[in-house]
Symmetry: C2
Subunit: 294 residues, 2 copies
């Protein structure tokens, strides 16, 4: 991998609310994801891996932009966007889903949060699902509003992350089950926390809901976390490959279908509800796939 001397920060690419904090805490290399900078190196990726698997790391993943679907037809609209059966999804739950187009091609693999009866967030990989969702809404006849909310997640991941969460939010947070979320407060900051992440380790995501408070939130977490061994870090490519987790664009794109990815479990062709790509995926399943990732 060739390394280049300089990486200039332009005005066309957004900075995360945690950008200044990550620079202060040693971020040395950035990439771009969803039109935003993401720190990719705090000096030593291998050390970052060990920090993650032995202790805990705090990662700026504000690049996981949220798309909010809200309105009386939100549930119907969200089901239309994914082959995963959402019939039994409760308020407070998260689900890992695929978003497919009419050809069954994968457009994104977000975590979906159901925040209220008629309110959802897609926590996105690197593609403009805001445009896709607004596009399919145009002639859908469904009553929904689709927007990008002010929401920026951090990932707190690693075996010690539970202890850090306990120290930050109190004992009650230990009840939070895998792939559930809830609203919490931290010294006046209104947050949403979920037990999700991209590490295959115990982990949490903490969604800031006011971008002016990025510095404050980062420092509060690091201050409490340091005694548990918490380090600033970045989502680990080593761990995610080990964990068999998908990286959109690297492992999948619009020309890849769920079966080629071995993600059959995220597709339900038997459910009554229709979704975009259902007919195409039926056809693909019947004919068998030509290639498969292992």
């Amino acid at each position: 991998m060739k390394q280049f001397k300089n990486f200039g920060f332009g005005t066309q690419i957004r900075k995360s609310p945690f950008f200044e904090a990550t620079v202060r805490w040693g971020a040395q290399e950035f990439s771009v994801y969803n039109h935003m900078y993401i720190p990719r190196d705090f000096g030593d990726p291998v050390q970052n891996f060990w920090n993650l698997v032995n202790d805990a790391i705090l990662c700026d993943v504000a690049v996981e932009r949220q798309v909010e679907i809200i309105g009386p037809d939100a549930s119907k609209f969200v089901q239309m966007m994914t082959p995963r059966d959402l019939t039994n999804m409760s308020v407070g739950q998260c689900k890992y889903i695929l978003v497919t187009n009419s050809d069954g091609g994968v457009l994104n693999d977000p975590v979906l949060l159901r925040l209220g009866e008629n309110r959802y967030w897609f926590s996105l990989a690197d593609s403009d699902i805001l445009l896709w969702a607004q596009g399919i809404a145009v002639n859908s006849g469904l009553n929904v509003t689709i927007l990008e909310p002010d929401a920026s997640p951090l990932q707190l991941q690693g075996p010690k992350s539970g202890e850090v969460m306990n120290a930050l939010f109190g004992e009650s947070i230990m009840d939070l089950k895998y792939y559930w979320h809830r609203e919490v407060e931290l010294d006046g900051l209104n947050l949403i926390v979920s037990r999700t992440g991209w590490s295959s380790e115990l982990g949490y995501e903490i969604f800031l809901q006011d971008e002016s408070q990025g510095d404050e939130l980062w420092e509060k977490i690091m201050e409490v976390g340091t005694s548990f061994g918490l380090k600033p870090g970045h989502t680990s490519s080593i761990r995610r490959i080990e964990g068999g987790m998908l990286s959109y664009h690297a492992d999948a794109d619009i020309n890849t279908n769920p079966y080629e990815l071995g993600l059959d479990r995220l597709v339900n062709l038997e459910m009554k509800e229709d979704f975009i790509g259902k007919a195409a995926l039926h056809r693909i399943q019947k004919n068998g796939v030509r290639r498969k990732q292992v």
Copy 2:
């Protein structure tokens, strides 16, 4: 502008067909645009500016991804996507257009090429209009196919660019008018050239249609161009700001409408045809805008 030591190239971000050539010719800094790397510095941005305004530069702008709309309803569909009146657009013509959503927000400001009676390319700024277009097609009832073709543009810009084009393609290319395009051949490479660019100088874009030929095309152009003073370069932020040209995300986004940008000339509310955002832009025009870029 803080500079960082390293910029790592990850697998999640695509490389241009001209990537290796630009590195060989001195590219030192990259940014990311439409999920691809774009060279942003060949050692001295001010020298690059003078190369552009005095002679000519060759820029890798393969990041300007194309979206192709093809099929019997292509013209109707494309008109639905933009507030600019396309009634009189000829095959062979290019038009600078805006793409708006239902709220009149700007999603992109591409150059549109009409390649055939029923075939168009959107040459895009930095957002996934492929997803937007496929999204609005879902319930449109129109017969179109929407894809990303194998097409990667270079920009040849500057006062000497005409002479270079003449030497490359022969005298006949000098007939090509501003904002028109045509198919040409260069030693067996099938290309589309347009008299467009992002420099306010005389300039051309050269669209490669087979991504395996990037190196070959780059070297052929540089070989012929050197005697005219052609240098490798990058689209100049200095020149584009001087020229008052829009940089999507830096100057406009989904929450900006065309009137706020002073781009009223790209909106035709009087035309018979409907387009997405027409009702909202009517409303905005009637009520007057609250802010305006100057």
